[in-house]
């Protein structure tokens, strides 16, 4: 079952048509929504929220009609916007509890959930501080907390790791991965950072010019690259590459002591072939793997 679906959707800003005749199903689980700037990702999300009136077509979210059941949909939906946003003049607990009440929770339940969700998002110790004093990382977390407080069935995340430092990004991705798996919560993530999508999502939809370019399971999209192998040495060794070339392999790309190698004819034992080449040239093999396409490869290929 699709968590959201649109059929023959048209959306215009003034005279500019951003989405024309888009038909698409967002699958259950965690789905990445990708595309270059101006591809219509944000527009799609905004029309699913009912913020934009489409000039044609139909959209459904959680089997509810967007045109007529907007508030009902938004009650089952959590949104983490891209820009910094909060309710001014409140500490974190009242902000999140307020967000819960706005979604329709009774006051006592909202406060209880606010504490629970803030703990979960790692803001337990900072929950009595005014949100205005928060750092970038904390602001991202509180945006997630206010989106989760009313226990939505579907979550929209717009650039959830924006502005986070490496450890902050790591923690955010872990949170997103966790809430989207086995908690009865479906997630749609918009991001320009494809490795983040790779880590959190099960499937992706790539939009361009308001049209679906590619849609599918990440695992399937990243299918292996034939006989390409990624090889890593202790340090860069021209001798190793020469030995491989002499045995009929081709070096596709190299970066420091890391190479992508293509074998003309699949060797009987890849491991033995590589270890012996290393031994011959006096290099130390530190790893090899059959190469897989990254999501970035897929993305750039599709949009060519």
């Amino acid at each position: 079952m699709a968590v959201a679906s649109v059929s023959n959707l048209y959306v215009r800003y003034g005279r500019k048509t951003v989405i024309s005749d888009l038909t698409l199903d967002i699958p259950e689980g965690c789905c990445g929504l990708l595309g270059p700037n101006g591809a219509g990702k944000t527009t799609l999300l905004k029309s699913l929220l009912g913020f934009l009136k489409p000039s044609g077509g139909q959209s459904k979210v959680l089997n509810l009609d967007v045109a007529t059941q907007g508030p009902l949909i938004r009650q089952r939906l959590g949104v983490m916007p891209e820009i910094d946003c909060h309710i001014p003049g409140m500490n974190a607990v009242s902000f999140v509890a307020y967000a819960g009440e706005l979604a329709g929770m009774p006051g006592s339940q909202a406060l209880r959930r606010a504490h629970e969700v803030l703990e979960y998002c790692g803001l337990g110790e900072a929950r009595y501080r005014n949100v205005e004093t928060y750092s970038t990382g904390m602001k991202q977390r509180i945006k997630l907390a206010q989106a989760l407080v009313h226990g939505p069935k579907l979550l929209f995340l717009d650039e959830p790791t924006n502005g986070l430092d490496p450890s902050g990004r790591e923690e955010m991705l872990t949170l997103v991965r966790e809430v989207s798996h086995g908690k009865g919560l479906n997630v749609v993530v918009c991001s320009h950072l494809l490795p983040d999508i790779e880590r959190t999502c099960d499937s992706v939809i790539v939009l361009q010019g308001g049209q679906v370019k590619v849609q599918g399971d990440i695992g399937t999209l990243r299918n292996s690259l034939g006989s390409h192998v990624d090889v890593e040495l202790r340090e860069h060794s021209p001798g190793f590459l020469d030995t491989l070339k002499a045995r009929g392999a081709r070096v596709v790309s190299s970066q420091g002591p890391r190479y992508r190698v293509a074998f003309g004819e699949e060797p009987k034992s890849l491991a033995r072939e590589l270890f012996s080449a290393a031994e011959t040239s006096g290099a130390q093999l530190r790893g090899f793997r059959p190469a897989r396409r990254t999501l970035e490869d897929v993305f750039l290929e599709v949009l060519e």
């Binding site: 800003y13 003049g89 706005l102 009774p106 979960y120 989760l148 226990g151």
Partner: protein, 313 residues
């Protein structure tokens, strides 16, 4: 077998994220949530109680004068006591207007402006909140704060008068006074909150929004004063009406009509411009002007609330 020994009693709870399946309320009174939270924030501000007391002071003084009058003079004797009750209420009302205006600024300047700065609309509108819920909620929070500030001391004075003069037929002689009072006291709440909401929605900075409304309030007052001077001919009524066409003036003028106060305010009261005026301003132009201001404020606020940021250029 003791309870602890029962293996089925042991459990480890999963404390990670869980969904919420508790009750959710219907959408009907969602604006009230916004009003309640906004009011809670407003009443926590410094100076709130100060302004509340200052706005109550004119009513307190009236009560004080009545009390003194009843102690010193006999019956209706004594200078102050010669005023009719509606005149007293009107006088207190017009003296408290400035404080009601300040209350509006304090409670209302940031109502939407602060939200604009913090991008709070992104939070509100992603929840099951409509634009109308938001506007009604914000409007009510200003209206309730201002209305309470103006109405509560008036009601207190009314009860005081009732207690003092019940035997002398206070209720019989002033049968409509209570309703007039409620109407007059709610008028500033409605007018101020509508204009303030509009001004606040056009700004990102609460201070600037406050300054902007203060500017509108006082500059408009000055402009209509000047305009009143240069009214052609010797039409006192028209001149007086024109002079009342600012937010403050309208409230004062309409208050006079609602209380059916006499044209001459007794000297020595705190009414400032009132004591120089002879002619009563006309009702309908003022009603029209007030309606225009209210509509304008609400329309501006409505047009400024977007769920989607508008990209220019």
């Amino acid at each position: 077998m003791s309870e602890q020994a029962n293996p089925t009693q042991a459990q480890i709870a999963d404390l990670s994220y869980r969904g919420y399946d508790g009750p959710l309320q219907s959408h009907a009174l969602r604006w009230w949530t916004i009003t309640r939270y906004s009011l809670r924030q407003a009443t926590r501000k410094k100076g709130y109680v100060g302004i509340l007391l200052m706005a109550a002071l004119p009513y307190l003084l009236q009560a004080f004068f009545l009390y003194i009058g009843s102690q010193v003079g006999v019956g209706q004797g004594g200078g102050q006591a010669s005023l009719s009750f509606p005149d007293r209420f009107n006088s207190a009302y017009s003296s408290s207007l400035l404080w009601l205006f300040l209350m509006t600024l304090m409670v209302g300047a940031g109502s939407i402006a602060a939200d604009n700065r913090a991008n709070a609309l992104q939070v509100y509108l992603a929840k099951p909140i409509t634009k109308l819920d938001y506007l009604v909620g914000k409007w009510m929070s200003i209206a309730i704060a201002v209305g309470a500030t103006s109405l509560l001391p008036a009601v207190a004075l009314f009860i005081f008068c009732w207690g003092m003069y019940a035997q002398e037929g206070f209720l019989r002689d002033n049968s409509t006074l209570f309703f007039r009072m409620v109407g007059a006291c709610l008028l500033p709440a409605v007018l101020h909150s509508s204009i303030m909401l509009g001004v606040s929605s056009t700004n990102k900075n609460p201070r600037v929004a406050g300054a902007a409304y203060a500017g509108i309030y006082f500059i408009l007052a000055a402009v209509v004063q000047v305009a009143g001077q240069i009214v052609p001919g010797d039409n006192q009524e028209l001149a007086s009406t024109v002079r009342h066409l600012s937010p403050g003036g309208l409230l004062e003028g309409l208050g006079k009509h609602i209380y059916q106060a006499s044209d001459n305010l007794f000297p020595g009261m705190r009414g400032m411009s009132g004591m120089f005026e002879q002619a009563k301003p006309e009702l309908w132009p003022m009603v029209a002007a007030a309606l225009v201001l209210i509509a304008l404020g609400l329309l501006v606020a409505r047009s400024r609330i977007h769920a989607v940021e508008v990209v220019k250029g």
